[in-house]
Amino acid sequence: MMGLQLVRVVDEGGDSWVRLELSDGLPTPVANALRRAIINEVPTMAVEEVLVIENSSAMPNEILAHRISLIPFVSDIDNYSLPEECTCGSKLGCERCVVRFVLRAAADTDTVTVYSRDISPEKPDIKVAPVSGDFPIITLAPGQRVELELYVRLGKGRKHAKWQSGIATLYEENGRRYLYVESFGFLPARRMVKEAVKIINQQVKELEQKLEEVMKNAEE
């Protein structure tokens, strides 16, 4: 199979989407595994824990935390690791598995809308940041105040949809098969496909190892 072109980029919209044409050498079940890996397995970053220091707004803590958790963060997957795979073993997390942010806002005499751009990192100059600064989080009436600490962690779409890296669709048109991949902004669309391939490889290797163990045990 070496040297054979399995996929071809038909069309691309910058980092936000790619359309791949699948050759006959790539069976549909494999392409489907790729599609599912993009949705379920590609790690991305989102707020996992919210520490509410003060919330005198009209929105309950839970709803506010849920809204914030759905904001996609530009994900630095090379320098951070999944909390369950991190060497620190700490539940709170270390520098390698958690990024801390703070959200402080208060309305004085006028109503104030708090946006995702108001989320500031605890340490300056890091790559991780909300995908867009224009997400309205909450509107505060005069006298209301929110002060939150946000813990951003890597996660997978399998655990919660907030970590779903994007949309992947497999479809047929005029006898040709396509894989359409759309990014939610966490990672560039091409990177999502690459990561999904890496993850499938890893999973196949793990399966092989487990199978070998089982066979060995059966022989004994």
Binding site: I63, I71, G133, D134, P136, I138, T139, A141, P142, I167
Partner: protein, 75 residues
């Protein structure tokens, strides 16, 4: 409540485009055209905008008007 951050069905982020959408529709642009130009193709995301109502602003307005009355209850 406030306009959702993400589309209920597909999960695509939509919240950051809401204010632009609302402004342009209020200025008289047809909402379908606005959504086309913003690149929302799927009908799940489009219905989020078309059926979006900002109820939270009314709650905030209530608090703005009557916050002074409630202030005496605070410690």
């Amino acid at each position: 409540m406030m306009f959702p951050i993400r589309c209920f069905s597909c999960g695509a982020p939509i919240g950051h485009r809401w204010e632009e959408y609302k402004r342009r529709v209020e200025e008289g642009e047809p909402s379908g055209k606005v959504l086309d130009s913003m690149g929302f193709k799927r009908y799940c995301c489009r219905r989020m905008f078309i059926s979006g109502v900002d109820v939270f602003n009314e709650i905030v307005e209530f608090h703005r008007r009557y916050s002074e009355y409630g202030r005496s209850q605070k410690t």
